[in-house]
Symmetry: C2
Subunit: 358 residues, 2 copies
C-alpha cells in the first residue's frame, strides 16, 4: 500500500532528498563536507531570514529548545513561558529541570498567545530574563503573533525572546532579524523536508552576551563550542552527515521555489483544508489557525485514536490525533513542506469516508 504522511513531522521527503540520503556517506573532515556545510549555513540563513550564523546540532527539536534554556539561564532566574499547547508545556518542563520556577502564562487551548496578557505579566513581574513561546504550537495548530509578542517583550522588559519555530519554519512567515528575535530554534523534519535528526538555533548578540555568563551545566548543547567551529564549517561533535546532505538538497529546492512563494502556497493549502473540513461539518479547533497544519474537533462519540489508526490501516494515510489533554478529541492534518493539494484532498476524502461510516 502507498504511504502518505499528512503528519506534522516527519513530513514526506522529496525524491531528490531521499536520493541524497541513500548516497554513500562522506567524511565530515573534508573539503567536500565543508563546502556542503557552508551551503547548509547559507540555506538556513535564508529560511531563518537572518544574517546571523545558525547553530547545527545532531538532535531532535527538543534538543534545540533545551539549548536555549541551558545557554541562557541559571537556576532561580525569572522567566515567563507563554503556553499555547503541549510544546509550551515542554518549555515549562525544561526550565523546571534546570531549577527555574517559571511564570506560566497559559492560554485556553486553541487560543493564541495574547500580547496584552503578556504585557500585564511583564509589568507585574520584575527582572524577567527570558520569555518563551511557540510560533506554531503543533499540538493545537495555533499560530502566535511572534512580532507582536516580541514587541511587547522588548518594550516592557530587558528579557530575551525565545521562539520555538520547529513546526513553522519554512511554512509561516518568520523574520528573525526583521523582528529582532533573540533566539529562534527549529528542526529538520517539518517544513524543511528532511528526516528528524538535525536541530537548529539562531542566536542574536544579546543572547550571546548572556550565554557567556550563564552558569547552567552544558556540554553537548553548549552554543559556544558550536560557534567556535563555524568559521571552518565544523561542528564540535560528529555531525549527522546524511541528514546534513539531505538538508542541503531540501534547502536547494526551497530556494528554487523562493520562500515567499512557499509561504503563499502553504497559506493557500491551509485555506483549502479549512474549507474542506468545514464542508464536512467539522469545527476548526484553533482560534488562530496556522498555515502549516490544521486541527479540527471531532464530533461527539468519534474516538480520535481509532480514527487515526483505522484511516492509516485502510488507506495508508497518516494523520495526527490529539496530544496530551487533546488525545482522542481532535484530528490534525499537516500541509507543510512537500505536501501538496492532491495529498490533502486524499486525506480529506479518507477522513470524510471514515466519519460517514462512524
Amino acid at each position: 500500500m502507498r504511504r502518505l504522511l499528512l503528519t506534522p513531522g516527519p513530513t514526506p521527503l522529496p525524491p531528490s532528498v531521499l536520493k541524497r540520503l541513500g548516497a554513500p556517506i562522506l567524511h565530515h573532515r573534508t573539503r567536500e563536507f565543508k563546502d556542503l556545510f557552508a551551503g547548509l549555513q547559507a540555506g538556513l540563513k535564508s529560511v531563518f531570514r537572518t544574517r546571523r550564523d545558525v547553530l547545527v546540532m545532531a538532535a531532535s527539536g527538543t534538543g534545540a529548545m533545551e539549548s536555549a534554556v541551558c545557554n541562557l539561564l541559571s537556576a532561580n532566574d525569572r522567566v515567563v513561558v507563554h503556553v499555547t499547547g503541549v510544546f509550551g508545556e515542554r518549555f515549562v518542563k525544561i526550565v523546571r529541570a534546570y531549577g527555574l520556577d517559571p511564570v506560566v502564562l497559559e492560554e485556553a487551548w486553541g487560543d493564541p498567545a495574547d500580547p496584552g496578557r503578556l504585557r500585564e505579566t511583564l509589568r507585574r513581574e520584575r527582572g524577567v530574563r527570558a520569555v518563551f513561546f511557540q510560533h506554531v504550537d503543533t499540538s493545537t495548530a495555533v499560530v502566535n503573533d511572534v512580532r507582536a509578542l516580541a514587541d511587547v517583550v522588548r518594550k516592557e522588559s530587558d528579557a530575551l525572546t525565545v521562539v520555538d519555530a520547529v513546526s513553522s519554519l519554512g511554512g509561516e512567515r518568520l523574520e528573525t532579524d526583521g523582528w529582532a528575535l533573540d533566539v529562534v530554534v527549529s528542526a529538520s523534519q517539518k517544513g524543511l523536508m528532511c528526516p528528524p535528526g538535525l536541530a537548529y538555533a539562531c542566536v542574536g548578540d544579546r543572547a550571546w552576551a548572556v550565554s557567556s555568563v550563564c552558569r547552567s551545566p552544558r556540554f553537548y548543547f553548549d552554543w559556544r563550542a558550536m560557534r567556535k567551529g563555524l568559521p571552518e564549517s565544523q561542528t564540535p561533535f560528529t555531525p549527522a552527515i546524511s541528514i546534513v546532505t539531505a538538508q542541503c538538497e531540501a534547502l536547494r529546492l526551497m530556494s528554487k521555489h523562493g520562500l515567499p512563494r512557499i509561504w503563499a502556497k502553504t497559506a493557500s493549502l491551509a485555506e483549502h483544508t479549512r474549507a474542506g473540513l468545514r464542508k464536512m461539518g467539522l469545527e476548526l479547533f484553533s482560534k488562530a489557525p496556522a498555515h502549516v497544519l490544521t486541527a479540527a474537533c471531532l464530533p461527539e462519540g468519534v474516538d480520535g485514536k481509532a480514527l487515526i489508526r483505522d484511516v492509516r490501516a485502510k488507506t495508508g494515510i497518516s494523520m495526527a490525533g490529539g496530544q496530551g489533554r487533546l488525545e482522542g478529541r481532535i484530528v490534525r492534518i499537516a500541509h507543510m513542506g512537500h505536501i501538496n493539494r492532491r495529498d490533502v484532498d486524499a486525506g480529506l476524502k479518507a477522513l470524510k469516508a471514515y466519519l460517514h461510516k462512524a
Copy 2:
C-alpha cells in the same frame, strides 16, 4: 572518483543500509515503527551482550557520554577518569562542565589504561562515585582491558563503571552483562555501520538507582524519560527515524554473520593491517593496538595533515590523521564494520605510494 572511507567514523555503509536510508520515511507513532523499534532493541541487546534495555538518543556519541555524566553525578561528586586519549579528555571536559573536579589518571598516549594504577588510585581516593574510561580510544587506537579495569573498580570501591564503547562496539569483544559493566555507551556510525545520529546507553540496576537521586539538570538526555517509553517502543522525543531504519538493517546483517565471527574477522583484519604497516617500515603507535583501527607513527619529516589530504585527493581514500596533540604525527586506518581486506589493501597501497614519494 570512487570514495573509500577507512576512517574510524563514519565508516562505509552496506548497500542494503543505504537502500533503507533512502526509502520514504515512515511515521514514528505507528505499529510499523513500533515493530521496527522492537527489532532495534533486540539487535542492540545482542551487540551489547545484555539482557538490559538499550536507551536510544538522537545525538552523536558525545551525547550518550554526557548522558552518563548528567544522569549519575551531581556537582562536587568524586570521580576518576582514566585517560588514554582525546576521548578520555572529553570525559574530563564533560564532568568539569557539570561542576565536578575529577581525579584524572592519564596514561602516556599510546599506552593502555593500567589496572594497577587504577587500583592504587581507588585505594588512595575515598568515596569515588564513578570511574570513566574508553574501551577503545579512537584517537590513540588503544584498546583497554575493560574486564580487568571493571574488576578493579568493583573490588576497590562502590563506584560505577562507565565504559565508552563508541568505536569498539560490534568490533571488539565486550560483555556488558558478563563483565558486570554498569554503563556502556555507544553510537551508530562506527562498527554498527550506520550514519552518525543515533547514540546508545546501556544502563544497569546500580546505575538506575543512582540516577533516581542525581541532582544534575537534564531533560533531553534524561534516562528516566527514555526508559518510560520503552515498553511501548517509544522515544520521548521524535527519533531519528531514517537512521533507526538503517540501524535495524545493519543489525540484521550483523546478526546474520554472527557477532563472534565479526570479532574474529575484525581481529584478523587488524593483524593484516599491522603487518602491512610494519612491512612499510612504520612503527605502530599503540602499545595495546585495537582491532577496530590501527595507528602508525609517521616518519620524521612527513606532514600527516598533508598526507591525509593528498591521499584523499589522489585516490579517493580517506584515512584519519592524528587528533589533539597527535595532529600531523600519526595515520589511522579503520578496519571495522563494512570495511574489508580489499579496502584495507587499497589504503595500505596508497599510503605506501605516498610515503615512497615523500
